[in-house]
């Protein structure tokens, strides 16, 4: 007997009690059915609302993407076939959406030689984003008219609604003019720096002749005036050197001359260089050096320059009565940057140069920008500390070129510590 057969068509033939039970059951089922129907209607409304919201959201996304006219937003599937092509991409590459979507690949718009040099194909474009989740670098796009544009492209992977990898996003900003301007600026700085060195050579050379002429000794007053001229010419020369060096770093033309460098000697040299300014400013400079020599492979001149910059900054940032301490220590560095005295698994041998001062300090909000060229801390401006904001960017570039790191910790009003860590 089936479940359907169990329910007779009417209740007339049934005993009264059974008919009552059946009616009650029918009433219960009718209630359940009505409740289910009501629930279904609610779900219908919810589904409709959700669909409308989703459509609205998609419309919002599309309108936002379509509103971007100065950046190209190109979305592809996993094979690099274009699926999204915004007006910014149309403008940059000169191709309408209809000609591209589902018809062309992202690689079709890249300079073939550049792509081949990077390993070729889509993988050259996405390999870093695949490993790190994001990649931003300059690529050369080729427009419909064959023009090459330098574009800073941010590549990110895209997932579908179930979290599966669905393709790639390429958001590009045309940097052609900006990069050309940077190159021009660097060439200009190189040229000017070069040209400035020649008159400075004459000034310093003839000053040397006058100051060191045993046949015609100067009066103390004359010597003092000419020493001021010489000091300022040297300052100008350093500034020219810093500008030239910064331009070289920016242009990627900065090379090291590696040799064995005794860091104790470098720090002693930095202390000696800063001594005159420290004495004049009433700042005490202490050296804490290890008994044994600490030798690293590096460019002695550049490491000297880096230490000179740190020590001279510390002295300039410290008011009279303050103190600057230079320490040099060998140790072991963990992957997370912690420093220790003993070798442990996963540690690497390093040397640490710390330059600690009891000076004005740097506001916490400015620490991130400290290594940007021409940046000057507000405490430097407020306390009339001289400088143009190149020293720390140069020091950072030198440290990085040596495979090292430069860290800063500072408390405004209490002082600053710069820590330069180098592999040994």
């Amino acid at each position: 007997m089936t479940a359907v057969d169990a329910f007779p068509p009417t209740t007339d033939a049934l005993p009264l009690d059974d008919a009552g039970l059946l009616r009650a059951e029918v009433a219960r089922l009718t209630g359940e059915r009505d409740a289910l129907r009501a629930q279904m209607e609610r779900r219908d409304v919810e589904l409709e609302t959700a669909t409308r919201m989703l459509a609205a959201r998609a419309q919002t996304m599309t309108s936002v993407i379509d509103a971007v006219t100065e950046q190209s937003i190109i979305g592809t599937d996993v094979d690099g076939v274009v699926r999204v092509w915004n007006p910014g991409a149309e403008k940059l590459l000169g191709r309408p959406r209809a000609d591209v979507v589902r018809k062309q690949r992202i690689t079709d718009f890249h300079l073939a030689e550049e792509l081949a040099a990077a390993g070729g194909g889509l993988s050259a474009l996405v390999q870093v984003a695949l490993a790190e989740g994001r990649d931003v670098r300059d690529w050369t796009y080729v427009t419909a008219t064959g023009e090459e544009r330098t574009v800073s492209v941010a590549v990110t992977p895209r997932s579908d609604d179930s979290g599966e990898h669905a393709g790639w996003n390429f958001v590009g900003t045309d940097m052609t003019e900006a990069r050309a301007a940077e190159r021009l600026k660097d060439q200009f700085v190189s040229l000017i720096s070069h040209e400035l060195r020649t008159p400075l050579s004459a000034i310093l050379g003839y000053l040397e002749l006058v100051l060191d002429d045993p046949d015609q000794p100067l009066t103390d007053e004359q010597r003092s005036y000419l020493s001021i001229v010489e000091r300022n010419a040297q300052r100008l020369l350093r500034l020219v050197g810093d500008l030239l060096f910064t331009a070289q770093v920016e242009a990627g033309r900065f090379t090291l001359q590696p040799e064995d460098v005794d860091l104790s000697a470098v720090l002693r040299g930095a202390e000696e260089t800063a001594r005159v300014a420290a004495t004049a400013g009433g700042v005490r400079v202490d050296l804490e050096l290890p008994a044994e020599a600490l030798v690293v492979r590096g460019d002695a001149v550049r490491l000297g320059q880096a230490c000179d910059n740190l020590v001279s900054n510390a002295v300039k940032f410290t008011p009279a009565g303050g103190r600057v301490t230079l320490t040099l220590r060998a140790g072991w560095q963990h992957a997370d940057g912690r420093f220790g005295d003993r070798e442990l698994p996963g540690t690497a041998p390093v040397v640490r140069i710390a330059v600690r001062d009891t000076g004005y300090g740097i506001p916490a909000a400015e620490l991130d920008q400290l290594f940007t060229r021409f940046f000057r801390a507000s405490t430097a401006r407020r306390n009339a500390v001289k400088g143009v904001g190149l020293g720390l960017s140069i020091t950072k570039a030198i440290t990085t070129a040596h495979g090292g790191t430069l860290d800063v910790a500072s408390v405004e009003g209490r002082g600053t510590t710069f820590t330069l860590t180098l592999p040994r």
Binding site: H194, S201, Y206, R253, L256
Partner: protein, 129 residues
């Protein structure tokens, strides 16, 4: 008989710098046999005077100091002339380029006069500095 003073050619397009070099050469006990302001004139002077030492600026009109140096090295009659390059380029690459062109020594501007005197004296005596 007293030994003749080493003979030096000075080439720089800046009058003031040439003046400093001339002075340093004399202080080093040498004689300036020719003073010129461009690279081609430096080559001519080298062929005419055949000095012991040529002090050449790198950035000169006509031919650069590097080109003059390379031309001297390529000429069998002149290849024995010692060369000191002076340059406003102070980077390691600049020095490497100078030495690759065959220079015996390289001095970046600005130089100390005393340092130049020492360098000229050593080179004129036949050494490398």
């Amino acid at each position: 008989m007293e030994r003749a003073a080493p003979r030096v050619l000075v080439a720089d397009d800046e009058d003031d710098i040439r003046g400093l070099v001339r002075l340093a050469v004399r202080r080093a006990g040498c004689t300036v046999v020719a003073e010129v302001a461009d690279g081609l004139a430096a080559l001519d002077a080298a062929r005419t005077a055949v000095p012991d030492l040529a002090v050449l600026d790198v950035s000169m009109p006509g031919a650069t100091g590097l080109e003059v140096c390379a031309a001297l090295r390529a000429d069998a009659d002149l290849s024995g002339i010692r060369v000191l390059l002076l340059s406003a380029g102070a980077s390691a690459d600049d020095v490497a380029r100078g030495l690759a062109a065959g220079a015996d020594s390289y001095l970046a501007k600005p130089f100390s006069v005393a340092g130049l005197v020492t360098r000229v004296r050593e080179l004129a005596a036949g050494g490398t500095a």
